[in-house]
Amino acid sequence: MRQQYAIRSWVLAVGLAIVGLAVIVQMIRIQNSEQAKIFLSQGDLYAGEFNTIYPERGEIYDRNGHLLAGNRTVYEVGVSLNDMEDPEALAYILGTYLGLTYEDVYNKLIDSPESWEYVVIQDYVGAETVTSLQQLAQQLDDADDESLHGLGFKPHFQRSYPENNLASNVLGFVTRDGRGYFGIEEKYNDLLAGNPVQVWIPRDPNKAAEIPRVPNGTSLVLTLNRDLQAKVENILDQSLTEYGAKNGTIIVMDPRNGDILAMATTPRMNLNNYADYFVLYDNGSQYNRAVGMAYEAGSVVKVLTMAAALDSGTVVPSTSFVDTGSIQVGGITIQNWDRQPWGQQDMVGCLQHSLNVCMAWIATQMGTQTFYSYMDRFGLGHRTGVDLADEAMGRLKVPGDSDWYSVDLGTNAFGQGVSVTPLQMLTAVSAVANGGHMVTPHVLYSMLRDSHQYNVPAQYAGSPISAQTAKTLSEMLAISLEQESSGALLPGYRVAGKTGTAQIPTDYGYDPNHTNASFVGWGPVDDPQFMIYVWLQEPSTSIWGSQTAAPVFSVVAEQTVITLNIPPDVVRNQFGSR
């Protein structure tokens, strides 16, 4: 009897063991089946999600730390279709708060493809609107009202420009796709935008894998002085009104290192409404005329011609020239701006009276090779390398070009037939203001990244003339302004400079009625701390640069010395002698 029980027990145990073993075998088989792999991979999809983390775009400051371009939070308003309870209520509320029609919202909610779990109703919604919606949703939720169930808000950054129009031509703008256009925003887009990082974020808190730190985009400090920029823009706007000019450009630069302190052009746009771009501009070159638009600057080029002549030893300040009112170059007669002879002149007189005939004579004395060699060293026909997008190159025809003629040597000498941007001209003349060394203009002062500040060193674009030539020419230009009692003079400060009045080339020759008025100048002459370039397009009260651009230079110079705390020459010399 006892043995029978033992046998039964063994049979039962073996049977159960076989069943258990079968279960285990089946488990292993299922675990390793093809279907299991599919299920596992499907399960992985729900274990977390890939998120692309976009870094906050770097900010832009002026040289004194004033924010010029920052970021603000806006929201994407959407609805989770699986959680939605009352599409009619959602359509009504969202339509009311977001300024949309009931039908538009309702159709989005109802007609979305079945595979969609989430539908975006509107993006870039301001924080105030979202706060109101959140409060309403909370109130309804507290009252167990499920009308707004499914409503969601996803925050993200949008570019914001606190100064609106200020320096819009320098800054450029950022569109909703996060890309910078024009100016600093385009030139340094990669630095400002940073590097987006795609990370796997597990839902299992046990797998709290560290999300990699996504550094913000690099912030930039510009050389611009916000206060001076505002003043210069104001002066430019007033000048356009006062002189009836179509458009204008004013640049203020430190000739010692190429820092652009202010760069004003017209028209300017409110960067927070970048859609205005299409209203204000016909093409990209108009966005920042200081770097994007080349024009015939006229007599300001005479500064370069004289610099080349002095440096090459062709003339000295006392070299005498008898102006008969015309000169033949390449078989073409060149005349003065007033078509009158000015008699015997020295080189200061040639500059003071802006004599085309004298300049053409100087160029012929220098010879083609010497003249164009100097113009090339001054950077005409080359980009300055300024760190702004869309810089134009200008054009300097040279011997060998199919459209270069012998007469061009004479006309180029006084600025006709040469197209330059205002910044190109300012850069070239910086060699005269800065002891023979030509600076590379720049807008970026430093970069801020990971709590480190990297200053950008000044760069020089060569030394086309000697220091002695620069000093001599500065003196000649200062004397010429003083002798003609130029409107460019600034009481208390000795300044040097040159006006330019240029006819405007058209497809049918030069426009007889309109001109471009320009002035390039710097000061104080014995220790230049600022350079200013003024360009007024087609002034109507007077066609002459001496009556339009020169007085504007004086006003800008006055505001510049106040803003930059540059004392009058007398005071500065007193300080220096102590």
């Binding site: 808190p205 797998k207 730190r213 550094p215 913000n216």
Partner: protein, 153 residues
């Protein structure tokens, strides 16, 4: 002789019920140890889960604060923009200075300030350090590591 030997064996051999109790005791000891290990594992896992959740919440909080900082900085810039400050100055009775109204004073040793170093304006971004292994490692992973590396890391 044989009978004596059997008597001695019977005298020292434990009773069958005593042997069974020892087996049951050993089995229960193993069960208790396993239960203790399981409880410990559950405790560690639960703590890790809580810590992980806290980390997720802190990250979210950091993001929110960074957004708030950016918003506040932009708002401050709006409130101190050139146009606003000029308007406020005019309302307070100030007017633009003229060159003749300025007095310059020589201050020995004074050096014209260079453009401001803006580190203070820049958000000091959090340098998140790597989480210690204790917060990310399961008990089994820890045991596995000890076996592989013999406790030397």
């Amino acid at each position: 002789m044989q009978g004596q030997a059997i008597q001695i064996i019977h005298a020292y051999k434990q009773a069958p019920w005593r042997v069974q109790r020892q087996y049951v005791g050993a089995f229960l000891l193993v069960v208790i140890v396993l239960a203790l290990v399981a409880a410990l594992y559950l405790d560690v896992t639960a703590r890790a889960a809580v810590a992980g959740r806290e980390i997720q919440e802190l990250r979210f909080e950091i993001t929110t604060i960074q957004r708030s900082n950016a918003d506040l900085e932009t708002e401050l810039a709006n409130l101190t923009s050139t146009a606003v400050m000029q308007q406020r100055a005019l309302e307070l009775g100030y007017r633009p200075v003229k060159p003749g109204e300025l007095d310059y004073i020589s201050v020995p040793g004074f050096v014209t300030p260079e453009p401001a170093i803006l580190l203070a304006a820049e958000d000091a971004q959090l340098h998140s350090q790597a989480l210690p292994m204790e917060y990310t490692q399961s008990l089994l992973e820890w045991v596995d590591e000890r076996i592989k590396f013999g406790g030397v890391q």
